[in-house]
């Protein structure tokens, strides 16, 4: 690590110590940024920049035409400023000296530095051995590590653009098969203008030797980020996938509307973990990312498993419901979530579990922590279709309120159309237990340490589902976020 980066890291740590957002810096870099606005030409332009085949453009245009007919959803119990879809840059790519770097060594130093500063080392010699990273900067993927090693196992892990070029048959087959372009307003928008993302294909019987991960960075101002992730796990395969995200501190709201599709075939298992730390706006709620994301997995095969684990600590508004369609018999869906909101953040998150196959199982564990003026909602759906004999669901959603100006809501929808199903749902809302606090304080822990310890205990069920490195990071993130907001 160069001295300059070290210096910057020290500054970042100082910021973090003061409870500020440490990833709020902005990288100065030349950009290829076509003008603002959204129309068919924008869609064509994005497609052309990415040198996409005709079928891809057709699909985008179909989505765009459908999106024009759709209405922005109005049902949430929060308000956000009107989004002017014509006032957004839909494509922003850092200009690189070498237009298509053949390897990471050829990627611009400024970009590598940015990711270094974010704690995501891309340069070959510094990489952690256990994780392969696809780094997405604004609208493009700047590099993917460990591709060679993964290729030896037949695993495809690349940016979405590369996948469209090199593996069109796979993309054609699975794109939109879980989240159709007409699914919802933001999914349709994403389908029309998505710029990049990650594609991952695990062949039959293969256990992916590395943790795969994508790191999303929004850098450019007034851009929307629309990435798309598609993971296909063939029969009997296994993959664990991580996702992280940050953005610079800005006064204006930025839109992030991603789509993630997971497909697990017979006996396959996908673990998807997210640590979301987009810029969440300042104390008065100015600025921050609108995180309106559609994530859905399909357990298409028998005995398949999909699990979503998320730590939502950023964004001005988080609005997402990672879901699982349990189609294969004996398939399992899991959802573990910690949503931490402070200042004026809003989180409306939860999951949908749709049981179609026989003996399908789902588990939902959701923990919401709300402080300052934040609103935290759990909204979930458990649906048992008539065909889902012997379905089983367990849901638990707990909320913790820190302070008297925040709110915690739960909206669990349970729809059962089969009498052999067994469901349990429980939810609680409370504040930090005064006796526990007193106990810790009497043992010499200070106020913040005590709160942090209690909150960690509260979220433990979720943290233990995260891969080790992420788990450590998540704990730290929570501590950092809560600092100064209590007491």
């Amino acid at each position: 690590m160069s001295d300059a980066i070290k210096q910057k890291e020290l500054e970042d740590n100082k910021l973090a110590g003061a409870g500020e957002y440490r990833y709020g810096f902005h990288t100065v870099i030349d950009e290829d940024k076509p003008p603002k606005g959204l129309n068919e030409d924008t869609v064509r332009l994005i497609s052309a920049r990415k040198k996409e085949p005709e079928w891809m453009l057709e699909w985008r245009l179909k989505a765009f035409r459908h999106w024009q007919k759709m209405q922005e959803p109005s049902w949430p119990n929060f308000e956000y400023g009107p989004i002017d879809y014509q006032d957004i840059y839909y494509y922003a790519a850092p200009k690189q000296k070498n237009a298509s770097p053949a390897s990471l060594a050829e990627v611009d130093e400024e970009l590598l530095k940015t990711f270094d500063r974010l704690g995501i080392p891309l340069s070959e010699q510094k990489r952690l051995s256990g994780v392969a990273v696809d780094a997405v900067f604004d609208s493009v993927s700047v590099g993917t590590t460990h591709q060679g090693e993964l290729a030896k196992h037949g695993i495809i892990f690349c940016s979405f653009s590369e996948a469209v070029t090199h593996h069109p048959e796979l993309v054609k087959k699975y794109l939109g098969s879980v989240v159709p372009y007409a699914d919802n307003f933001y999914a349709a928008l994403n389908s029309a203008v998505f710029s990049d993302g990650s594609f991952c294909y695990i062949p039959k019987g293969n256990r992916c030797p590395l943790e795969l991960s994508t790191y999303f960075r929004i850098n450019s101002e007034n851009t929307g980020q629309f990435e798309r992730t598609l993971i296909v796990a063939e029969e009997g395969s296994y993959v664990s996938y991580l996702e992280g995200c940050t953005a610079p501190t800005r006064d204006t709201n930025q839109l992030h509307a991603a789509v993630v599709e997971l497909i697990a075939l017979d006996n396959a298992e996908i673990k998807y973990s997210t640590v979301q730390n987009w810029y969440s706006g300042d104390k008065e709620g100015k600025g921050g990312i609108y995180n309106f994301v559609t994530k859905r997995g399909k357990c298409a095969g028998v005995n398949s498993k999909i699990s979503w684990t998320q730590v939502e600590a950023g964004s001005a508004i988080t609005w997402k419901y990672p879901s699982v369609i349990l189609q294969g018999d004996n398939s399992q869906g899991k959802f573990y979530s910690v949503a931490l909101t402070n200042n004026r953040m809003i989180a409306d998150t939860g999951t949908k579990m749709v049981h179609i196959g026989k003996n399908t199982k789902s588990t939902i564990v959701s923990k919401g922590i709300s402080s300052d003026f934040a609103h935290n909602s759990y909204r979930g759906l458990v649906k048992i279709m008539p065909t889902a004999d012997g379905a089983r669901n367990f849901s638990q959603c707990d909320s913790m309120l820190v302070g008297n100006n925040c709110s915690a809501n739960t909206f669990p929808y349970i729809e059962v159309k089969n009498n052999t199903a067994v469901l349990e749902h429980e939810a609680s809302t409370s504040k930090i237990n005064a006796e526990q606090m007193f106990y810790l304080r009497s043992r010499g822990l200070d106020l913040e340490e005590s709160i942090s310890l209690i909150i960690n205990g509260f979220c433990k069920d979720v943290f233990k589902e995260l891969p080790l490195e992420f788990s450590v990071e998540a704990v730290k993130l929570l501590e950092m976020k809560l600092e100064g907001s209590v007491g």
Binding site: S399, L401, N404, A408, I414, V416, N419, E426, S428, T429
Partner: protein, 436 residues
Amino acid sequence: MMTQQLPLNIEGLEQYQSKLESASGAWLKAFRQKAFDQWSAIGMPTLKDEEWKYLSLADLVNRRFQIATHHKLIEDKQFENYRDKGDINIVLVNGVLWGELSDLKHLPAGLTVSSLDAALAHNNAEIQDTITKLVPNDTKAFLWMNQALFLDGVCVQVAKNAVIEPVVHIIHVTSGIAPETIVFPRTFISVGEAAQVNILESHICFEPVSYLSNAVTDMRIASNAVVAYCKAQAEAHQAVHVGTTRIWQEKGSSLDSFSFNHGGLLTRNNLSILIKGEGTHTIMNGLYGLNGNQQVDNHTLLDIQHPNCTSYQLYKGLLNDKSRAIFNGKIYVHAVAQKTNAYQLNKHLLLGKEARVDTKPQLEIFADDVKCTHGATIGQLSQEEIFYLQSRCITQQMAIQLLSKGFIDDIINTIKNDSIRGKLSRLLLKRFPEVL
């Protein structure tokens, strides 16, 4: 205004309205007119309304209705069996108070019963104040329709410090109507400071006829009063019952409420309780035993606007055949309502192969020093429990009966009054002879 399309198809509406108008005072006239305008403007709810997401009224909208004009009890043998001599029976036929059938002559001290029409004619400020101030809840359309078109009702008042020992049994009976009739049973209850009373409100019909009952009950509970209130719905098999119950609870009062749903093809209950004072205690229990094609939709709202309140809610459903239950329980805790303890539980036992449940327990909490939990379970009888009983020489049929009865008794036994509990048990037994 009359030419515009009304939300429901009602024959002879204009005539009926002009009759209503000529018979009522200025306040009531204005009140009805306002409600009518609101009702015409809002229309009937559809599946797109969040509060009506699971209950379709399409069938209702396509039917042609008329409004009940005769108010006479026809079938009286079963009716006599239903009521108890020991209670104070107040009988309304098709929404009109029927003095001959009621025990109005020997009312205990502190209890006043009059027709709502008469009470409103005397410009009773308390009633006017309460029914205007109680916020409309999720059944706005039905509430406004009732306010616009109700003919009469009953007004029950319990004086300050009065303790009424016998059960006050308000019986809304539907009788002698042509098919496709609408009735508007309306009840107003006011319980004075520190008074105590047990109230049972029954909605019954012993004739096989199809009708719509649009019932509204408003209750104001003054400070420190203790009220047990049970609503028992045993309408005809073909009937549609939409009930709106709005309760206003003042400081230190205690309410033990029970909602019993039993008859009717399609039932929607909206129970909303407003907590308007500190330190109240509220119990909201409910039971629905359904079979055939019955549908029951229970929406409850507890709106806690003051600190130090407690509430317990347990709703249980026993679903046979193709029946369908919907539950939506909302607890809303305002920021000032610190030290609230609220518990909510919704349990279903699915006996029928095609039974269906949609449940949504919902918490909205804006205060931090609270303890709120909710839960929901859905399941069938445990095979292990049945096996255990069989291994003790109990037949399978008997084992199922025992377990189902256990499931129901758990909630029925929360009713403290013997007379009320007895009546509900008898109703259940009649409907589920093979199960219970």
